[in-house]
Homo-oligomer: 212 residues x 2
DNA sequence: GTCTATAGGCCGATAGAC
DNA sequence: GTCTATCGGCCTATAGAC
């Protein structure tokens, strides 16, 4: 029992076949380190220690491979996003995700790839919209509880949060980081106003005052 | 007189040779429409109506070609930026540039290309820093004249302005534009506070009150 | 499922005629 | 400066043996 011969529609081994996973892992690694343009069936095979034809066995075309990789990356990403949203300080958690290099690196790569490989445009656009509305909802909820004097609408704040995060990550990729510290400090000071952080870890007294 | 046989160091015909220009034009067009990965000597030649070997005559390597294109794009970009900075409402003019699709499209492509072609990283980083400090200076000047109650530092505002602009352009490329109108409206309302727009075109009374 | 073999194409780059 | 000719390489993808 357990494996009742289930049928996968699209590709051999719907998801968790180890070789398939190895292929996607290799593709993701190459994409992250050298950009989407460096991802080829041969490079993938070399990285994963396979023959390049196996790549074509699991994914008929490269478009299909990139689609599968995108799906996997999205799934992980929204999983992490959901976890952040469920944390005690959701906005702070989401913000931490946004300025973490590793997350947006692939996102950026996929967005850039759309110009060259238009097939994935709708999927990527949908993903972007989904992220946007999730963050907007989180901000709206926080605003509802701690409304500051006159605040921009939640949707605008969501755009600001996301865009600043992306620029910081993009700059970091270029080796530019001059004004990041004060930008991050500013964003976090604003976040603290609509989502007060109750010093979670016990033992130390309330955060905020540095002993200097 | 006039052409005293001047020597160009790097490539045949330092700058304004028509074929060279045609090559760069073609490269730029392809890059803009299909992404950096679609730019090849053969595609360039086909677009410009040349033989691909001519591309290699003017640019020994593709890296050199992309470097030359970057230099040209930067020159145009900073020219426009300087003009905007000299306008009567510099921040508004710069903002208009930032959310104009055509400018940042190539910038984004070059930034994405860095992952794949690291040679240009320093140059692109320098360009980014130059833009950043120029915008920061404009904002600082405006803040100095019309200081609002409590404003973030100019450098942070510069990051915000640039990042929001980039996200809007990026979204537009994906076909996402749900919250752009209100975002743009918000940014412009903030800009108007630190850089009042004296209704330039005469005939109508002061802007701001809509007859509805 | 993994292999060998191979077709057919675009790529960067060079050599040499004119 | 522009052309023809060409090398060697990497690419996607398919056919077929095991």
């Amino acid at each position: 029992m357990g494996d009742v011969r289930r049928r996968a529609a699209k590709t051999p081994g719907a998801a968790d076949k180890p070789t398939r996973t190895a292929i996607l892992n290799a593709a993701e690694a190459i994409m992250r380190e050298e950009g989407y343009a460096a991802v080829s069936s041969r490079r993938i095979a070399a990285t994963a220690g396979l023959k390049s034809q196996l790549v074509h066995y699991y994914f008929k075309t490269m478009d299909e491979l990139f689609g599968a990789l995108l799906a996997r990356v999205e799934e992980q990403y929204f999983g992490r996003l959901a976890a952040a949203a469920a944390a005690s300080a959701p906005l702070h958690a989401v913000w931490a995700m946004l300025i973490d290099e590793n997350g947006p690196r692939l996102t950026k790569e996929f967005i850039a790839m759309v110009t060259h490989r238009p097939v994935l445009r709708r999927e990527i656009a949908g993903s972007a919209e989904r992220t946007r509305s999730l963050i907007t909802a989180l901000i709206a909820r926080a605003l509802n509880e701690h409304a500051p004097d006159h605040s921009p609408p939640a949707s605008v704040l969501a755009v600001m949060m996301e865009s600043i995060g992306r620029l910081i990550v993009s700059d970091a990729g270029l080796g530019v980081s001059a004004t990041h510290d004060e930008t991050i400090a500013f964003v976090e000071s604003q976040l603290a106003r609509i989502e007060p952080v109750a010093s979670k870890t016990p033992g130390r007294r309330a955060a905020g005052a540095k002993p200097s």
